[in-house]
């Protein structure tokens, strides 16, 4: 069972809804792998860019160079950011586990079970493990904003697969929210203070995001993937 989290290479499919930070997650995941001296490639995929419309992003994360390109058709890991991806079919891939490889991992953001009997049968045959928790509530409780849902999802996954450290993630999140070319020496005092104010807010944002990630890392560490259970559920 532990094979699920000891691979050299993970092909990851992230399905969510517009506004949930699916594509942002892909970018941060890519940078995180880069910071860890590993390899990643990413492909975002969406139709109309609007809130609540289906969005998919694909990330390949590996300890070795990656040659292949394009969408991930056969994932090792699936992240579901919203229960409607499953219950309303808001996805480019139907059913959501299409192409899932045997001995793989699914992480679903939901407080209630979204799998029907047929889904359970297919996933059991594939010896999959589903980690289910209310990532949005965790984000609200910890960071005070549901915008950190993506951090909770990413944190849970990275906590499970052990390819990178929390520090690698923090550097990537910093790059994303603070930028790498940030210069705090402005012209006028007014400009300085405006930048400082913005910077402070972003620093807070970064810290809150990191708290969410730390919490999901702890949760991931408590998971025993050798269980026979299909679904591992956390109450938030």
């Amino acid at each position: 069972m532990a094979d699920k989290t000891r691979k050299k290479r993970y092909n990851i499919r992230i399905s969510g809804l517009g506004g949930q930070g699916v594509v942002t997650t892909a970018h941060i995941l890519g940078s995180t792998m880069d910071n860890a001296g590993q390899y990643a490639s990413l492909v975002p995929f969406f139709g109309s860019e609007k809130r609540m419309a289906p969005v998919e992003a694909y990330v390949r994360a590996s300890t070795e160079p990656i040659y292949e390109v394009g969408e991930v058709v056969y994932p090792d890991i699936i992240l579901i950011y919203h229960s409607q991806v499953v219950t309303h079919g808001k996805s480019y891939t139907m059913p959501f586990y299409t192409g899932l490889k045997p001995d793989s991992l699914i992480i679903i953001n939901s407080e209630v079970n979204v799998l029907d009997e047929d889904d359970v049968k297919v996933l059991k045959d594939l010896r999959a493990t589903v980690v289910q928790f209310d990532a949005t509530k965790l984000a609200l409780d910890t960071a005070g904003t549901e915008l950190a849902t993506n951090m909770a999802m990413m944190g849970m996954m990275l906590g499970l697969i052990n390819l990178v450290s929390i520090d690698n993630i923090e550097t990537a999140v910093k790059e994303r929210f603070l930028g790498t070319s940030f210069v705090s020496s402005g012209g006028t005092a007014m400009l300085d203070s405006a930048i400082e104010k913005k910077f402070k807010k972003k620093e807070e944002l970064l810290q809150k995001n990191m708290e969410v990630i730390s919490k999901t890392f702890e949760m991931a560490n408590s998971i025993d993937l050798d269980t026979e259970d299909l679904i591992i559920k956390f109450d938030i």
Binding site: Y67, V69, E71, Y74
Partner: protein, 394 residues
């Protein structure tokens, strides 16, 4: 647009062997379109001609930027693709180094003019950034358009990734202009998967460029006030008797295809040969070109990890096609798998025609219409060939 003499940049001019093999290189993370434009920047190109048809790639837009920066003397925006490709033929008669690029439907629209370039001895470089053609419309990558290009006499190289795109484009100028070649060289790569995606490219310095075009070193010299047009231009064979036109066309086209064959020694010299072979003693071989070679390389890597007897042959040159090289490389193979990004399997047909035992070739896997080529489909064929189960349930 007008010529740009005031922006003439100071560059060190070097020959192609130094540029490709010895010049210092620096690693950049850029798209395939950028890689092609960066090669054009270093190729002392005199003139670029293009029409911004949709779908395109960013290449000719980026080449326009390069013109504005002074790396290219002239940039002409033609009226449409047939006009672009005709203008290339016209400009070639004046004896300048030429570049254009197009994609999918644009290539087909320009094809009437393009297929006459070899016969007119036009040593231009053509970028082909493949996109779907035919209905229903899709604008994603699919390389079926290359099949239409394969029978006109042009040299054709197929780049696997951004690095290949840079190196092949530079080499293309040198190959096209060899006196014993002197026909166009097309550098193809997949739209989106290579052109729009970033990869690592080791690039030569920006202030170092290929030696300038020599319009005199040509089997059909450029015309100017001292050099009249070549006889074939001023005195068309069709104006003679039918028998004369048959004869002239036949010997001229034989010479074009011989020129195409003679390009092979330069493909060895500049690019290390028309094929790359990994694990030559294998039972099963993957043979692929372009982006499919990247997918095949990944499958080959997985197969190595699983201890399977699988080799990889990446085909860099589609024309001249490496018939002898492939026949020799697979002489002991038990089966061959040819993954492709098109519905007709043009590479598969070429491979089958090159070997005496075409029955060992698996046709595919193939994807078309723009989808990615999943490595898992290649793995499944590998397992089938070896009589093994491959656990791909969904």
């Amino acid at each position: 647009m007008s010529p740009n003499p005031e922006k003439k940049l100071e560059k060190t001019l070097v020959d192609i062997n130094y540029l490709l093999k010895e010049a210092p290189r620096e690693k950049h993370f850029i798209t395939g379109a950028q890689a092609m434009a960066e090669a054009v920047k270093r190729a002392s190109v005199d003139m670029a001609i293009a029409y911004p048809i949709t779908p395109q790639s960013e290449v000719m837009h980026l080449v326009g930027d390069i013109y504005a920066q002074g790396h290219i003397k002239e940039y002409y925006r033609a009226e449409e693709e047939l006009g672009t490709m005709s203008a290339i033929a016209g400009a070639a008669r004046a004896g300048v180094r030429l570049f254009t690029a197009t994609s999918g439907p644009g290539l087909l629209r320009g094809l009437e003019a393009i297929v006459s370039w070899p016969g007119h001895r036009v040593p231009a470089v053509l970028g082909i950034l493949t996109r779907v053609i035919n209905a229903p419309l899709s604008i994603q990558p699919d390389n079926i358009e290359m099949a239409y290009m394969m029978h006109c006499g042009a040299v054709m190289l197929h780049a696997e990734n951004q690095q290949d795109t840079f190196d092949f484009t530079l080499a293309a100028f040198a190959i096209a202009e060899k006196v014993d070649v002197y026909i166009p060289v097309a550098v193809a790569t997949e739209g989106f998967f290579v052109t729009h995606a970033k990869g690592y490219v080791e690039m030569t310095p920006e202030d170092m460029a290929l030696t300038e075009f020599d319009p005199v070193a040509a089997p059909v010299p450029a015309m100017d006030n001292e050099t009249p047009p070549a006889r074939i231009q001023r005195d068309a064979p069709v104006q003679k008797s039918n028998f004369m036109s048959y004869l002239i066309h036949a010997v001229w086209q034989q010479e074009i295809w011989d020129s195409n064959k003679r390009a092979m020694k330069y493909i060895y010299e500049y690019l290390g040969g028309p094929i790359e072979v990994k694990n030559p003693e294998s039972d099963v071989f993957l043979i692929a070109s372009g982006c499919a070679a990247a997918q095949a390389r990944e499958a080959w890597r997985y197969a190595q990890e699983a201890g399977l007897s699988v080799g990889l042959i990446k085909v860099r040159a589609i024309r001249p096609f490496p018939i002898d090289e492939i026949r020799d490389a697979v002489k002991n193979a038990k089966s061959i798998i040819v993954p492709e990004h098109n519905i007709i399997g043009w590479l598969c047909k070429e491979v089958k025609a090159a070997i005496p035992n075409g029955g060992i070739v698996t046709e595919g896997p193939r994807v078309y219409g723009g989808m990615t080529l999943p490595v898992e489909l290649i793995m499944k064929e590998i397992h089938n060939s070896l009589g093994l189960e491959y656990d791909l349930k969904l």
